[in-house]
Amino acid sequence: MNQKQPEEKPDGNFFHRLDKSAILTVVGIILLFSGSVIVTLIAPRYVDPTWTSPSSSYQVQMYEVSDPNLYISSASGHSSTLQFVYHIKENFTLLLFQESEYSRIVAPDHLKKYITAYNEPVLTLTSKLLLLRSPEKSDHFDAIAAAGQLRTSIVNEWEKNHPKWKEEGTSKPNIQIMELYEPDSHDAFALALTDGMIENWVDHDFRILDETPMQNYHKDSGVIYVRNPSEFRITNIKTGNVNDWVYDPKGEAIQGLDALKSHPAGFHSRAELIAAGEHIYAIEGCWYCHTDQTRTLVQDVMLNGSDSHPAPPSTASEYIYQKITFPGTRRIGPDLSRVGVKRSSRDWHKTHFQFPQTASKGSIMPAFRHFFDDDPRGTSKNTEGIPNYQFEAIFQYLMTKGTRITPPTQAWWLGKDPVGTKEIIEGRGHLNP
């Protein structure tokens, strides 16, 4: 092939044939490159603990304790409201049974210690598996009778305190009485009042009535708990040809996780939805237009703040539970790092994902109609579709942003930001190094 005289080539292996300058090049490149890699990529997380440590034990418990055990589905079939169900486990989930002025709890003697009475300042928690139900009569304890007695005594007491209640035109209080009982199983699916976004949290005046701490997180200075759970029961129904279900306190209990997650109930844990939401955020390319970082700039803490408080700047700790983090390089839409606080309404997001220009005038965001299904029965009067799992996933993912930095009792949107963002931007304070 080559018409020139072949030159003498030194024999030997690859490295013998490379001359000095080539070897110098390769070695030099590798040395310089690895030096910078060590300092800029490997060292930082050992030098700066915030890269791997959580922002608060609330954050840890939200991601590790609450998310995997809170299950979400449409309330029944294709309804667009949500049903939340807690998977509570013995020796794991902390429960609170708390009375209020007009709702009381009756229990057999050995369970009475688990009740936090009305006006009692110290909350009594337990990881023993207990539930509330409408009073029933059993062999050991006649809850119906106990409830009747309790109601009578409360009403009598109330009449004593309000002797002129008839003249004042008020009516007797409607006292709701539940029975605390011990189910046979080691776990249960339970209903409890929740917004599905921020969990009950207590960090002072509480005690856990376990002989020894059952879980490591039970030793934390604050804990997430489930308040007044009652068993989640359903009745299967048929709407047309579609298998459906409704919540029914007298219906059947759910037989295990598989039943909860499979058709027609179709529940997903919040952890699963958040993970799916993160995936959707990646593949839909949300991150090309939305940043996910409140920078240490006045404009950023203001843009993401509320009417009364600036948002704290993002810290590395906020991101440690994300498989992919999207700090972003371009802000064509607003920053999303505090969206769980700024826009927490599910209805707003429903409208916005379908009709961005309607919800935000002047927006250039594309519509995400594939996050919604058509109304199966066609009876819905509004033009909005029924949100499908893609919407629920992206919504749950977005709602993690800004809501988990500190416990709700020290929330920045209440002005309790420990960083002191407001002081700093007004020039009265300094960021701690």
């Binding site: 090049t25 490159f33 890699v37 700066d48 949300c286 006045v298 404009q299 810290t315 539970y321």
Partner: protein, 483 residues
């Protein structure tokens, strides 16, 4: 026809360059589509598979990987053997790696609208598309290419290594590590900012340690060839090379200035970013100085104009880059269209221009015919320049303007004042303000697209037709005689 050409196997060059040119036109078409369908007529074509978030990575992947990186690889197959004085080590190996390269990369990049995005910037290539492990195949293809070129260099006849070979060896090593870092190692470190840091390390080094050395290798090889003059200073190019090697890998964190990144790491990135002036100015000066005394060739040759214009853009991009890393300038420019302008002037204005110049020089050699039309090449350059000016200015000015608008929220000294600023100028208002800049950008984009369609036509005709000039010379007299 040079006699020495017969010694080289240029089929790998062709197999890389021809598809790359088509993908450039494709990628730019997608870019123009986005400029209109997202920014000027938002969501006109609406739906799951055509909205901005799903199509943008297809534009970026097409122009960066399917066009620029692939074209640069084609040019490596061209000049590495020529600088070594031997044909490429193994043509068969080259065919295998090129086949794997196109198959996996094209499949990966074109699959983004169907929801395969990996989720990290510039590293969107998915591990799997259906049952095809595209990312692994791409990696293998690259390693085969690197092995092939290293063996070519190891077996070379010309003892002295020209600077382009140094840059090539740098590219082959850096790209391997950078690609593995961004595409695989990002998942080997703890979740959160560690991954972000690795990702931005990759994002910066994709440009700094892949496209820069490849582009400079191209420029250093083709400018002396085109202008028929030796490089001004071999030593200066060496200084440039080693400062690239020293500086680039440190600056990744400047992509997240003011963000949730350790302050000392941000500061480190700022310092090294400023040092980037060293490699840049050596390159820029060296290229200008090479053409000293030969400026007439600038007038005569479109590829030289591309190289020199690319060099000017390189100077601009590399003045911008370090300055954008400064905390106060970053506060204004970051997260705005300025950044998009900066990425376009470097990957389009500089390195695409360099690659085009290289192709103009290489195509006549590998096809052994002169270029089909010099006039079309002149038009190609003129329109590219004409389009890039409104395009880039719109992005810079618009971006800077938007950054200044955001900064008005920080006017004052109290929360009440800040809040009042934000009430007077809501975020969405700052989007509306961009409309005319986006219009200008769209117009520029259309001109650029048109220019490069002419380029594709010119190259296509060069390959398949007889040269225009020769046809005319032959035919015109004959017709006269008949008449």
């Amino acid at each position: 026809m040079e006699q020495t050409n017969l010694a080289y196997d240029d089929r790998p060059v062709k197999f890389m360059l021809y598809p790359a040119i088509l993908f450039m036109v494709f990628g730019m078409t997608v870019g123009v589509f986005l400029a209109f369908n997202t920014f000027l007529f938002p969501d006109y074509f609406s739906g799951e598979y055509v909205h901005f978030g799903r199509v943008r990575p297809t534009h970026v992947g097409s122009v960066t990987l399917l066009w620029l990186l692939s074209a640069d690889i084609g040019l490596l197959y061209y000049f590495v053997p020529r600088l070594c004085g031997i044909p490429v080590w193994s043509s068969k190996l080259a065919f295998v790696s090129i086949g794997l390269w196109w198959f996996s990369l094209a499949l990966g990049v074109l699959s983004y609208p169907w929801g395969t995005n990996f989720g990290w910037e510039y590293a969107e290539l998915p591990n799997w598309v259906a049952y095809i492990p595209v990312k692994y195949i791409t990696t293998i293809a690259w390693v085969l290419l690197a092995a092939n070129l290293f063996m070519t260099i190891a077996n070379r006849k010309h003892e002295k290594m020209y600077v382009s070979l140094w840059y090539t060896m740098g590219t082959l090593i850096w790209t391997t590590f950078t690609f593995i870092t961004g595409s695989y190692a990002v998942n080997w470190v703890p979740e959160g900012i560690s991954r972000v840091n690795v990702s931005f390390f990759y994002v910066h080094n994709l440009v700094g340690l892949i496209f820069t050395p490849m582009g400079l290798a191209t420029a250093y090889y083709f400018l002396p060839k085109l202008a028929n003059t030796p490089i001004y200073s071999h030593r200066l190019s060496m200084i440039g090379f080693w400062s690239v090697a020293f500086v680039y890998a440190w600056v990744g964190a400047h992509h997240i200035m003011h963000g949730p990144m350790s302050q000392w790491l941000q500061t480190t990135a700022v310092v090294f970013s400023i040092w980037l002036f060293i490699p840049v100015w050596t390159v820029v000066y060296n290229i200008f100085a090479t053409l000293q005394g030969h400026w007439k060739s600038y007038i005569q040759s479109a590829p030289i104009r591309f190289l020199i214009m690319g060099n000017i853009f390189y100077l601009i991009t590399c003045i911008q880059g370090p300055l954008m890393a400064l905390r106060n300038i970053n506060e204004i420019t970051s997260k705005t269209d300025w950044v998009i302008g900066h990425s376009h002037i470097s990957l389009y204005g500089t390195f695409t221009f360099f690659a085009i110049a290289g192709i103009y020089q290489a195509i006549p050699v590998i096809t052994q015919k002169p270029l089909w039309s010099q006039r079309l090449a002149d038009w190609h350059f003129n329109l590219n320049l004409l389009g890039s000016i409104p395009f880039l200015l719109a992005l810079w000015l618009g971006g800077f303007w938007q950054g200044m608008l955001w900064a008005t929220w920080a006017n004052g000294t109290s929360f009440a004042e800040f809040h009042n600023n934000l009430t007077l100028l809501p975020f969405l208002q700052t989007i509306t303000e961009m409309h005319y800049f986006w219009m200008l950008r769209g117009i520029g984009g259309v001109i650029i697209l048109f220019a490069n369609v002419l380029f594709a036509i010119n190259i296509f005709n060069t390959v398949v037709l007889d040269p225009v000039s020769e046809t005319k010379k032959k035919e015109t007299p004959e017709i006269t005689v008949v008449a």
